[in-house]
């Protein structure tokens, strides 16, 4: 680990958190529960998201514990089904989908574009309440017996063959879906209509572009899963017959409608993380992102192409061979913009002044792990190999590499990167670097063996497996323990830093971006004066000029 660092903190003897900021503006629980301030709503989300993450993580722990032995001895197979289902439902709908957008997106987008708040503050608050309602309903479902269909609710299992709480879980997801829709709607409107003077589209931080693309997906795709849940509910209660072969229905119709959302959902999950990576990689290479336009357009391209590939989740389910062909081809296309981003980030590093603070460590982890995950996606998009790999642990490993190795690392990178801005305090660097390394090691131990297990033929969603797979499963569980430590550490030291962390000052990373040109924590209205954007994004020369102006006594603006 390099001892070089770009961190520049104010003199700790004299520095203090600014007395007037969004946290101190008003007091009392109602000022939080009825807030319109996007920053407070982001904090509300951060706390609730962390809570749901650990519940989902506990369920993951149970899964890995069960899989230590080939027999289904820790829990009954039905219970195991419920555990992995709730793990999926909670992690996807109540953690990954809202993770970066609802916390970092909510907090930063208005600041990054030079606005005082999002366009629709009340809708923003409503989003959080819907999220909580859905989340609490999901927890209630767990308490009364859970659901065992898998997070994919495949018909006709979910409509005709199980006695578990499909309806309540479906309702929870339905409600959470509207939370997501409103967040996306808010972002699109804000980014179009509330940019400060001079903030043209191509001066926006790439974080904003990424969220714009993800928001399009949120708005257009989520309603389709909503209607698919309604149809399941009616099929289960009244027996309308849309998915029932005995009445002439087609179970595959559900899958079409479900995956029409759930594939774009994975891009909803990853795009904001990619936005974080762009910001972090630029700051810790002291260099503008290579190929800004390409990265910006590739975000939108991922969103657009991502709409047309959903049936690659259905290759073995009974769609026509011609549909398989078309969707396979389109899946190849959607890989291209993601690869463009990886190339551009790599070229950003080239000849940059790289330092290895925690956000950058997570970013390096992202780049390696997401690349592996993405490449394995190509094997799955090829229908021939997919026939053998689908419904095995290869799929499980693939999506955990992109979602956990990719998205979750990006989320942690972002939390660490913007922690000083959000709280005014620095986290402790050494332990956080350790946590990042522990997470990386734990992750690889957990999920790499699962690729091998998948190619060897171990099916997913099974509590018991042939004994020859045990050793790889034990490796995986051991890794999961390490991974758990890696995720627990940030909770501990981040909370510690709230009281004891060093005072961060406005811009400890010397980053470009409007959010870094104001105090930490920010004022409720973000800026004292409306900022005028007169330079390109990632303009480190402009930043140097600003520093020089400050040092020569010229008071800076904002």
């Amino acid at each position: 680990m390099s001892s070089d660092t770009i961190v520049r903190l104010p003199d700790q003897a004299t520095a203090s958190i600014p007395k007037m900021n969004y946290l101190t503006k008003e007091n009392g629980i109602l000022s939080w529960l009825l807030t319109g301030d996007h920053k407070r709503i982001a904090i509300l989300y951060l706390i609730s998201l962390s809570f749901f993450f650990f519940i989902g993580g506990a369920l993951a722990g149970l899964i890995r514990l069960e899989l230590l032995t080939p027999q289904s001895d820790l829990m009954a197979t039905d219970t195991y089904n419920k555990v992995f289902t709730m793990h999926g439902v909670i992690m996807i709908f109540f953690f990954l989908v809202p993770s970066v957008p609802a916390t970092l997106g909510n907090f930063l987008i208005p600041m990054m574009i030079g606005a005082k708040d999002l366009a629709l503050p009340k809708i923003n608050l409503l989003s959080w309440y819907l999220y909580m309602a859905g989340g609490l309903l999901a927890l209630y479902t767990m308490a009364v017996g859970g659901v065992d269909t898998g997070w994919t609710f495949t018909t006709p299992l979910s409509t005709h063959y199980v006695n578990t709480n499909v309806l309540t879980t479906g309702l929870a997801v339905f409600i959470a879906g509207f939370s997501s829709i409103f967040t996306g709607l808010n972002f699109i409107v804000t980014i179009h209509k509330m940019r400060a003077p001079g903030m043209t589209w191509f001066r926006l931080p790439l974080f904003v572009w990424a969220h714009y693309a993800a928001s399009i997906l949120m708005v257009l795709a989520t309603p389709v899963v909503a209607i698919s849940i309604v149809l399941i509910a009616l099929e289960r209660t009244i027996g309308i017959g849309v998915f029932d072969p005995t009445k002439g229905g087609d179970p595959l119709l559900f899958q079409h409608l479900f995956w029409f959302y759930s594939h774009p959902a994975v891009y909803i999950m990853i795009l904001p993380g990619m936005g974080v990576i762009s910001e972090v990689i630029s700051t810790f290479s002291r260099k503008r992102v290579f190929g800004y336009t390409a990265v910006a357009f590739s975000s939108v391209a991922i969103a657009v192409f991502g709409f047309f590939v959903w049936a690659h989740h259905m290759f073995i389910m009974g769609i026509s061979n011609y549909a398989v062909l078309v969707f396979s081809l389109l899946t190849m296309l959607v890989a291209v913009p993601s690869a463009i981003k990886i190339f551009n980030w790599t070229f950003t590093l080239y000849k940059g002044s790289i330092t290895f603070e925690t956000p950058m460590l997570y970013t390096f982890g992202f780049m390696g792990l997401f690349t592996i995950g993405g490449l394995t996606g190509v094997f799955l998009g090829t229908s021939g190999t997919d026939i053998h790999l689908t419904e095995t642990y290869f799929i499980v490993a693939h999506f955990h590499f992109v979602m956990v190795g990719g998205m979750l690392m990006a989320f942690l990178a972002g939390i660490h990167f913007w922690w000083p801005k959000i709280t005014g305090r620095m986290y402790p660097e050494k332990i956080s670097q350790l946590a990042a390394v522990v997470t990386f090691i734990g992750f690889n131990f957990t999920f790499f063996p699962q690729f091998i297990l998948g190619t060897l033929g171990m099916p997913r969603r099974y509590a018991s497996y042939p004994p020859e797979f045990q050793i790889l499963n034990v490796f995986s569980t051991a890794g999961a323990t390490i991974l758990g430590v890696g995720y627990l550490l940030p909770v501990l030291y981040l909370v510690w830093s709230l009281k004891y962390g060093a005072v961060a000052g406005d811009n400890p990373w010397q980053a470009t971006g409007l959010e870094w040109q104001t105090q930490s924590p920010p004022l409720t209205e973000n800026f004292t004066e409306m900022p005028i954007m007169d330079h390109e994004a990632y303009d480190y020369e402009w930043l140097e000029n600003q520093e020089r102006k400050k040092e020569s006594g010229v008071t800076s603006v904002g």
């Binding site: 509330m194 309308i240 029409f260 409306m530």
Partner: protein, 242 residues
């Protein structure tokens, strides 16, 4: 500071995070359009299901659609078209500050909306009486033996369906109730908001320069009308020739 002098000119309905009334109005209209997009995709799933099953079970769909009264359906279509007209006129009244005109237009829209729901109730009641509600003692009798239903038989002289095709009429009615029910739900919500708006309009809330609420509601109302235009064509008018 840049907004101190403008503070006196900031109307009370201008929220603090917007710089101008124009920005606020623009933004809220854009937001309403995006919301309508989500509604399009929501109904999209239902239209997909409908098109698939109509293609698979065409004879059943034809026979079942004859159970819908085209007079009621067409009347409802006209009712909604007129209500869209009165709603658009309402927006014009708000924009030109005609308070009484606005109240009249909104009230007419309200009444027409209720009229639509009234006709829908009549239609639904008929379906219930004839046991054509899926999941509630659904009966295929009218399709296995069309002559047992003299009213409809007199008009269309349908041939009896084979039992394995007659079974699929239940899918038709599922989609009928789903799609018109979802539409009716949106109508009910709209009528509720209309009631609120009429009260506010009487107090002059929308005729003093702040028309966005009326405009945006108008967008919602027209959208619900458009959904019905398609529902009418798809559900009622499959094929009514002998």
């Amino acid at each position: 500071m840049s907004d101190n002098t403008a503070h006196d000119a900031r109307p009370p309905y201008l929220r603090h995070h917007f710089n101008s009334v124009e920005q606020q109005a623009d933004t809220s209209t854009f937001a309403m359009w995006l919301f309508l997009l989500t509604e399009v995709m929501f109904f999209g799933g239902l239209f997909t299901a409908y098109l698939i099953y109509r293609n698979w079970y065409y004879p059943a769909f034809v026979a079942a659609s004859h159970q819908l009264n085209v007079v009621w359906g067409a009347t409802n279509t006209l009712v909604l078209i007129f209500s869209s007209f009165t709603m658009a006129m309402g927006v014009w009244c708000a924009e030109t500050r005609r308070r009484k005109g606005l109240v009249l237009c909104l009230s007419l829209t309200f009444i027409l909306g209720l009229g639509f729901l009234g006709i829908k109730t009549i239609e639904y009641r008929e379906k219930i009486e004839k046991h054509h509600v899926p999941g509630f003692h659904y009966s295929m009798q009218s399709f296995l033996d069309p002559q047992s239903d003299p009213e409809v038989y007199a008009e269309y002289q349908d041939k009896p369906l084979q039992p394995d095709m007659a079974v699929h009429t239940e899918v038709y009615f599922s989609l009928y109730f789903l799609m018109t029910g979802m539409h009716a739900l949106h109508m009910i919500i709209g009528i509720g908001i209309l009631g609120f708006m009429i009260l506010r309009a009487r107090a002059g809330a929308y005729t003093s320069g702040h028309v966005t609420f009326v405009e945006n509601f108008g967008l919602y109302w027209h959208f619900v009308d458009i959904i019905w235009i398609y529902l009418f064509a798809l559900l009622y008018l499959i094929s009514r020739h002998a």
